[in-house]
């Protein structure tokens, strides 16, 4: 089979629990190949169904986001037999996570820049949720900053839509934001103010935000070591 052979010779960039990410040249373009490999610990029928569904959801959500004007990698080719997605490699980019970490480490007064970044993230997430796209795995590692050649602002690109789905429920959007909050505050200590800015920007930009923020507050009260007195 062609795709596994191709992938076998490509550069492995990362391996996670879900799949492997490779970098290669495809039809003359720098390409990322995302392979969701077989999980032998799962029942084969379930594994096939789940893997196929995740692949399909990922590409559908990418297109839906792009249609709304949210930057996401262009999909070039999907092999549904080996569950590989061939997509655009966002050249010269860094994750938002790395950007925040390096900015904080540099210790220069770049607070304003980070706040502006947080506001941009809030705006983009508001747009995404207004399209009823739930990302499902919002972390700062799943957001890329594409460096542009001129002095223009770098492009914010969302990636990794494997756990995404379509939903209009404020509950699902609230949970999406909660996942980001947890990931944000654990990866980047002392950034509560920054995340607040993100939420404020989200509230201002989204037409359906009041219900979502209300649900977010409710979700925060759930879970371990939390009082269920409401």
């Amino acid at each position: 089979m062609a795709v596994p052979q191709f992938v076998g010779k490509a550069d492995l960039v990362k391996q996670g629990a879900e799949g492997r990410v490779y970098r290669a040249q495809f039809l003359g373009k720098p390409t990322i190949v995302k392979e969701r490999f077989r999980k032998r610990y799962r029942h084969p029928v379930l594994d096939e169904k789940l893997t196929h569904r995740r692949t399909v959801q990922e590409v559908r959500s990418i297109l839906r986001c792009r249609r709304a004007g949210i930057s996401a990698p262009v999909v070039y080719f999907v092999d549904y037999t080996s569950h590989c997605i061939f997509m655009e490699e966002i050249a010269g980019s860094s994750t938002v996570r790395d950007h925040i970490v390096s900015t904080q480490q540099a210790n220069s007064c770049k607070e304003l820049e980070l706040q502006q970044l947080a506001e941009r993230i809030g705006r983009i997430l508001a747009k995404m949720h207004d399209e009823d796209v739930i990302h499902g795995d919002l972390t700062t590692s799943n957001m890329l900053l594409r460096c542009s050649s001129q002095d223009t602002e770098s492009d914010l690109v969302l990636i990794d839509f494997g756990l995404s789905y379509i939903s209009s429920l404020p509950e699902d959007k609230g949970v999406d934001l909660y996942v980001l909050e947890k990931a944000f505050l654990s990866s980047h200590p002392n950034t509560n103010v920054l995340f607040e800015k993100l939420l404020q920007s989200y509230t201002k930009s989204s037409k359906k935000s009041p219900a979502v923020i209300k649900k977010l507050d409710e979700v925060r009260l759930r879970g371990r070591k939390r009082s269920m007195v409401g």
Binding site: A2, V3, F6, A24, Q25, F26, L27, G28, K29, V56, V59, R60, I62, L63, R66, R67, A68, G69, I70, S71, V74, V75, Y76, F77, V78, D79, T81, E88
Partner: protein, 175 residues
């Protein structure tokens, strides 16, 4: 002038594109293609944004042919079908295949060896002027493309038209 590229997924397979303008015998060429006398797909270049789009369509066609999952009956038909944003085969042919009154044609040939003799064979059949394939965007009808692919104004700000078109081509079977 013509453009040949090896498919990375199928290293023994190559895709060659040849572009012609001021074509006077489109009807005859179309007939010849249907009779099986031209071993290539005849594409309407006004609906194309660039050569990369054709490569994406050809790659998918070869892949589906190899895995026995083509939606159409021949490889050349599959290439034309893959260029379309919808899953309707006859609509794809109407919009991306050539019509008798067309004045420009892009010929797409999928072949195995490095041999490019067929390029001059095909050029001999075409009553028109050959253009460098990279010039295909000079023939494009961008408004028609945007309308057919339903490109939103927000999406245009997101990235180039080629990206929007290729993305839809790649995902259409699960839309």
């Amino acid at each position: 002038m013509h453009l040949t590229r090896v498919l990375e997924l199928y290293p023994d397979t190559r895709v060659t594109q040849i572009l012609y303008k001021d074509v006077k015998n489109a009807a005859e060429l179309r007939r010849k293609a249907m009779e099986g006398n031209i071993n290539g797909a005849l594409v309407n270049p006004t609906m194309l944004v660039g050569p990369f789009q054709v490569l994406v369509a050809a790659n998918k066609a070869v892949h589906l042919q190899t895995t026995g999952k083509m939606k159409t009956k021949t490889l050349n038909a599959e290439i034309i079908f893959n260029l379309s944003p919808t899953n309707n085969i006859s609509e794809a042919f109407k919009r991306f295949g050539i019509s008798d009154g067309d004045h420009s044609i892009l010929v797409v040939v999928v072949h195995k060896s490095d041999e490019v003799q067929f390029v001059s064979d095909i050029s001999a059949m075409v009553d028109g002027q050959q253009l460098p394939v990279d010039d295909v965007s000079s023939l494009s009808d961008f408004n028609k493309i945007k309308k057919l692919f339903k490109i939103t104004p927000q999406e245009e700000k997101c990235g180039p038209l080629l990206d929007a078109v290729v993305c839809r081509m790649a995902i259409k079977d699960v839309l």
